[in-house]
């Protein structure tokens, strides 16, 4: 059943996202074509800069549009009239949540891939070669500094990115599910919960930073700094894996909230 859900989910999401991806790639091709016909005139400079700006804004809009499309898809398919079909399919709540999470993550990664490809198309030729050369140089220097662990750091960083994206998506899902507990203005409540939670976490982080400055002269803090200085590689591993574990736990909590509400408190109107 999960395979079938995935098939229908990808079909629905791709009809929202593929046209946008085609537009972005088209903008990249147009930018590149403009770059080919380089002339030393003010008009050309204006056109080229405009094309670059439109492409840059388009890429950002594309990323935001992907995020918004996934959220809208989740809401419409489960909590609008479509929910009467979705929730009467012989499929578990876990299957619904996991397929939506998976397809959203694929969409995010795909949009990042489109951004990268668009960038490569727009800068193809000598400029792209220079950019890759510079990137190679930076990576080489990083490799010298970090030693054999460079590949492992990249893997841990990639894992952290995936887990944090998943946690971010699940937070949206949990907020939308919490919004469903209200009788009216459900979307408003969902937004309120999301922003309230965001500001609460910002507040907690700020308090943490303030506490750090209060204790920065303490012996324990000094010992910690010494340890970090002596063990930079281990520190990077701990930070990356620690953050990954943190986001994984938070993602698990958001999943539990969404699952519990969808299974036990569903009230489609």
């Amino acid at each position: 059943m999960v395979n079938k859900l995935l098939k229908h989910e990808f079909t629905a999401l791709s009809r929202m996202l593929v046209p946008m991806y085609i537009i972005l790639l088209g903008l990249a091709v147009i930018t590149r074509i403009i770059a080919i016909f380089e002339t030393d005139t003010l008009i050309y400079d204006i056109i080229l800069v405009s094309a670059v700006v439109v492409l840059s804004v388009g890429l950002v809009v594309g990323l935001v549009y992907t995020m918004v499309s996934c959220i809208i898809r989740f809401y419409r398919n489960l909590f609008s009239k479509e929910g009467y079909l979705t929730f009467t399919l012989p499929v578990s709540v876990n299957a619904h949540l996991l397929t939506k999470l998976f397809t959203s993550m694929v969409a995010y990664v795909a949009s990042l891939g489109i951004i990268f490809i668009s960038f490569c198309i727009a800068t193809s030729g000598e400029l792209l070669a220079e950019i890759f050369k510079a990137a190679g140089y930076i990576l080489g220097k990083a490799g010298e500094a970090l030693g054999a662990n460079l590949g492992l750091y990249f893997a841990e960083f990639a894992l952290l990115m995936l887990v944090s994206i998943a946690a971010g998506i699940l937070l949206f899902y949990a907020c939308m599910c919490i919004g469903q507990l209200a009788k009216r203005s459900r979307v408003l409540l969902a937004l309120g919960v999301y922003f309230g939670y965001y500001y609460l976490t910002q507040f907690i982080v700020t308090i943490g930073i303030i506490l750090l400055t209060v204790f920065e002269d303490s012996e324990a803090f000094m010992n910690l700094l010494d340890w970090i200085a002596l063990n930079p590689e281990a520190t990077i591993h701990i930070v990356l894996l620690g953050l990954t574990a943190f986001y994984a736990i938070m993602g698990g909590v958001y999943y539990l909230v969404a699952h519990t509400i969808m299974k036990k408190k569903l009230n489609l109107e």
Partner: protein, 232 residues
């Protein structure tokens, strides 16, 4: 087991409002049952609990011994009171979706009914009229070989000819071993096909009898009795 659906002390409240109040009900197999009541009586609430779209506050509801969940959703074929299909999808895409998720779905029957109604399977749902969209929904529901068909207001908001078509579709295509639970206000149109009726008012089941019993005991049709019981 002849008991297909069983409600025990089923209650649903929304704050201070009681939508269903201690409902005890048994629906047997192989019957067409009318769920009749005025607006706000609790019909749709009962139907939604049955389909797992609402959770009860107290009590229980089982279908073939299972609580509403994955097992019961494969046994129940549900038609809501308005179209719930993605308007951007084509009719054949929706049919394929039903083939994917319901092993008991009969695509040859669905396509036959679509052809009889001159509905192009390659047409997008958003290009169909309201009546045709509802017919597509009904065709999908009745093309399943389910144990329980639940139809919420299937003939409201359509013309008399379409109503007759819907009623004949229900009669001609449902599994005789199954039951059909029909919620409606248009009792006179549906009375001739009903085996049993349930009168529900303010969340309470006031009557559950066969149509023959009602006619013999009260000397009136179900429609006449309904108007008598729920008179303002």
């Amino acid at each position: 087991m002849n008991e297909l659906l069983k409600c025990e002390n089923l209650t649903k409240t929304y704050g201070r409002i009681t939508a269903l109040n201690n409902v005890n009900l048994v629906i047997p197999r192989g019957k067409i049952i009318g769920l009749l009541g005025p607006n706000g009586s609790g019909k749709t609430t009962l139907i939604k609990i049955l389909n797992g779209l609402l959770t009860p506050t107290e009590g229980s509801l089982t279908i073939s011994g299972f609580k509403p969940g994955v097992e019961t959703k494969s046994k129940v074929s549900y038609l809501p009171d308005s179209s719930y299909l993605n308007s951007w999808m084509k009719v054949e895409q929706i049919v394929n979706m039903f083939i994917d998720f319901y092993p008991d779905f009969r695509p040859e029957l669905a396509y036959k009914m679509l052809k009889n109604l001159d509905i192009d399977p390659t047409a997008k749902l958003k290009t169909l009229s309201k009546g045709n969209k509802e017919k597509v929904c009904l065709i999908l529901v009745m093309s399943r070989n389910a144990e329980l068909y639940v139809l919420d207001e299937p003939i409201a908001g359509v013309d008399p000819a379409t109503r007759d078509y819907i009623i004949s579709t229900i009669i001609n295509n449902y599994n005789p071993e199954a039951s059909v639970l029909l919620s409606t206000h248009l009792i006179s149109d549906i009375e001739q096909i009903l085996d049993e009726v349930i009168f529900i008012n303010k969340g309470v089941v006031e009557l559950h009898k066969t149509v023959d019993e009602i006619r013999e005991e009260n000397g009136m049709s179900v429609d006449e009795l309904f108007r008598e019981v729920f008179r303002w």
